[in-house]
Symmetry: D2
Subunit: 328 residues, 4 copies
């Protein structure tokens, strides 16, 4: 069996949070995620249609931010090939032992310093009698809590240099460049990359604050537009800060909503499919955001602007760029 | 650039219809498809988010049914490799000249006699000023007619022998087997195969009428559940025969609705994403339809049965198995 | 302040259930209702947008069925007027003392023997800090459990003689006759009546089993079509028996789904608004269900038939007409 | 038959437009409305579930704005009673002859100078064979054009003095005050009034520009949230200016979207039911918009602010307050 490229898929995102119990509660109560495991300062969770043991790891830390992103190779051989290419690129950190629910993995750092792990072997989630679903293609029952997300979708990283990071992922890891935003003077301000029919499992956006290696958001997927209205209703009742949306991006055509989990990390909820790419000779969609029409249409297709915080707030927070300092 | 396998995607379905103008009107007025071209007895159409020149070809003929299915290889080299493998399998028909909007193509017949075309070169749709969309990832404006479908999704073929046909597509063409229905005595009654993150671009279902090489349906995709209610409302007003749905299959998790275009061919409208497969080591989901729970849950997840016609009506019609003869 | 007629609205439905704790769990866990009160063998519940103290009373009993329906008069004077008219009609039972959350009430029996209570004074629900909503027109926070229903909508009673019962509600209580189904030989088989812009707060359907005074269903309202798919998904996972739908009735244009709570009573979930009636000279919509087109269109607008149980099963169960005996 | 008050319902809104053909095209092509009649400089239209001959009259004029609002009394007697009360209040203009599709009507001006017509007799729409619907409670077939609105919902008028206008409608016409926004120093900045279970058929908002008798918007109803996304998609493709939304008001709980028809008048599309009021002793919901939380929650429940133009732009335009001058 083969895959679109040697990287097959996004497996999980590991985040730091200064409020571990509040963060867990957020994902468990509101987003209906299941807790797979607790170990040391960490809690492992998954959405009810995530097939693996976990897709989100939360670890207590002084500041919010990204611990690492985990990717699955498309075969054991692909893992070997990728490890060699990464090592040759100078980005390699090295092989790690088995970790919770994961087999041997190769660690590396992308150019801005974000940490990643690449693996082949990992544990599938096996439901017990209580969570077992009669729907044979569903790894566990739809939960009764909150508005349950279905699966992890993508991760968005802020980078000080978009071309350098984008080049790393396309050349070394063979990601496909699906969409791009080009700003004044031809500056590449954002790139959307994927290893599947999704428009992106990885977005890279320019960090104009001087920060490096910061985390913008992880996205969980609903599929149904109504669920964004439902979760927004729940958040509005409970003072969860929402940043933008529910609205529709032009870029990726995502029907989205952004919010902040209690630890300060941004989370996107994804309310439809956007569009899918099957064309093997896809030509990158380029938005000219120096142009006002493209700037608006790519951000919010129906008109309007994303919140100012969207462009400057990321975790960990850079001094002078907290949510309060940026303002609405 | 590579692809999940040497076949990259479903390009189009070509159908025969005894009522060409009524059929065209159905897809144009109700499903909001655009007419790309007319030539001889044929009319070429596409949905507004189909990237290529056409995804549906309708040709006037005495009886409804399938002319052929067209697939795109993932590269020129993949096309060569596939042509050789198909030829070696004995299923090859040979290379064809350029056709409307298509470059050189290799033709073959799958074991039940269904015709297929495989190609690399093809024409992209280029919108004129009137159809040009400001949404840079949308190949043409969302139309104002009916409830417009967004893109072609999959094709379903009835076959006299599921294992033989399934084996051909998995061994020779490297399709992935995603889901399967196994009936009494271990008989394979249906298989769902894909070359991408979709659960299927191709379904094979057992034809128990003695027919061979028949066409079950082509599916166009909406993505939004509401659109199935909308199009069903339009059909109910206008005496378009609906067969089953809007309802949710357990198999593929599709929110579906089946209807018949005026020429007699079955069309599925697909109202959400179902689920997507990114796992490079996917284990085929097997439904044991000898078991009543699995039979019902795989057919209609919320309970109930598909119409009797679903299991026996296909085009061309086998004597004794018309819609009227089968009854509701 | 005045109202459309002297009866202003449906307040609540009181049901008997042989499985009180299972029934409560069903409404609490799956439909997200709140428990207002427990007293003796009874539990009182409300949906999160029900303004009064309760809209559903469940009482333990040997058999499922209706205890009573409670209506609110449009003023204290209207209550007096109605009590006199009912008494004069011979249907009166008499005034009752205060009951939980209710002031003085006039009790009566409609012609088939169904019990009703009519009142003016009643307690509004007042949320504590935990349930308090920031949405000032919402009496309590949207809950995090299941797929929460928003408010009570209507009640449907089976009657041995539709014209007699319909006549009682229109003449004595001034209900408006909104829609009607007329069968073979001009038999009135169903009537939909309302006291507001809703098409019905009360439906009367012919009981052909020989039963009298039986309960067909109570409907709770979602408003959003997606929520029917969501609750059906939850029910499918948990073996709650669904009878028909999600589908759209022609009559009332309701997007509906019927299921059975564990005590055996039928519950309808209502997934949109249907349509509203503001015309003060409304002409009753008449469906000629002796005619096959009208029979189908009025039942399921997109085609198909309601389950057989829909026409014969009601509570309490008449011998020979249990769900198992009727079959699917 | 009686009604909630002597005014039974909103019948129609008559607007002036400087671009009559573009305006007609907007309502016909995009909102799927049907043209009932053309006469002189006027075009009459209706939505497919509007029961009367028309609900929108467009008349060519130099400037956009309101010609009049038409209301139906709940009976011939109610019409007489109302005419007398209005005349006594000094607001009466007098009886008019029959007009297109309307019987004798009483005209009056509300305190800010907005014109209104009150009538009993009017023509119902009777569909010809082509528009005839099989759905017996639907006055004409669902159209195939654009995203068709279902019925007129409400009208919003800007007034220089909210209390005076509100008092007129509640005292003289017996409208019910459903919701209210109170600003700094107890100023009433908006009132929502109704004569039915709807939260409003009439909204009155303070005009802070010094304008008098201006028109804020007319709302047409979809009922399904998806339809707001659909029409917004169509508008985004075709440069129809959208002002705010799709989003959810706290006030009335409407899922809304505002846009401008080519003549410059604001149109609201209403994507769900909001909530309905059946309580005969309804206590006005009061939002304290001097308080920031209430200001935001009442405007956009999920957070954010309405466009600045929403508070100052109305038709006819007051010098200095055009869309361009106010800016986004």
């Amino acid at each position: 069996m083969s895959a679109l490229c040697d990287v097959a898929q996004l497996v999980s995102v590991a985040l730091f949070t200064p409020k571990i119990e509040d963060s867990v509660k957020f994902f468990y109560d509101y987003l209906g995620m299941e807790i797979s495991h607790r170990e040391g300062q960490s809690v492992y969770l998954r959405a009810y249609e995530d097939f693996y043991q976990y897709t989100l790891k939360l670890t207590e830390a002084r500041e919010p931010g990204l611990e690492q992103v985990t990717w699955r190779a498309s075969s054991p051989e692909a893992l070997e090939r990728l490890a060699k290419k990464i090592q040759a690129s100078g980005a390699g950190i090295g092989w790690t032992e088995r970790d919770y629910a994961h087999g041997p993995a190769y660690r590396f750092a992308s150019p801005d310093g974000h940490k990643h792990t690449l693996l082949w072997e990992l544990d599938y989630f096996v439901a017990d009698a209580e969570l077992h679903s009669k729907l044979r293609n569903r790894p566990s029952k739809r939960p009764l809590r909150g508005v349950p997300v279905r699966r992890i979708d993508h991760v968005n990283l802020m980078v000080s240099d978009v071309p350098a990071n984008r080049e790393f992922f396309t050349s070394v890891l063979d990601f496909q460049l699906r969409e791009q935003k080009i700003g004044d003077g031809g500056t590449e301000v954002g790139s959307w990359l994927s290893v599947s029919a999704l428009v992106h499992e990885l977005a890279l956006m320019r960090d104009s604050t001087g920060g490096r290696g910061r985390f913008h958001h992880v996205a969980y997927w609903y599929g149904a537009p109504q669920h964004l209205l439902d979760i927004a209703d729940i958040f509005a009742e409970r003072d969860v800060r929402m940043e933008s949306g529910p609205a529709k991006h032009g870029t990726t055509q995502a029907y989205f909503m952004y919010c902040f989990e209690p630890g300060g990390n941004r989370v996107e909820l994804f309310g439809d499919t956007g569009y899918l790419i099957f064309d093997p000779a896809w030509k990158t969609v380029v938005w000219d955001v120096a142009n006002e029409v493209d700037l608006e249409k790519s951000s919010i297709w129906f008109g309007g602007q994303l919140a100012k915080t969207f462009y400057r707030y990321a975790t960990p927070v850079v001094p002078g760029h907290s949510l309060e300092e940026i303002g609405r």
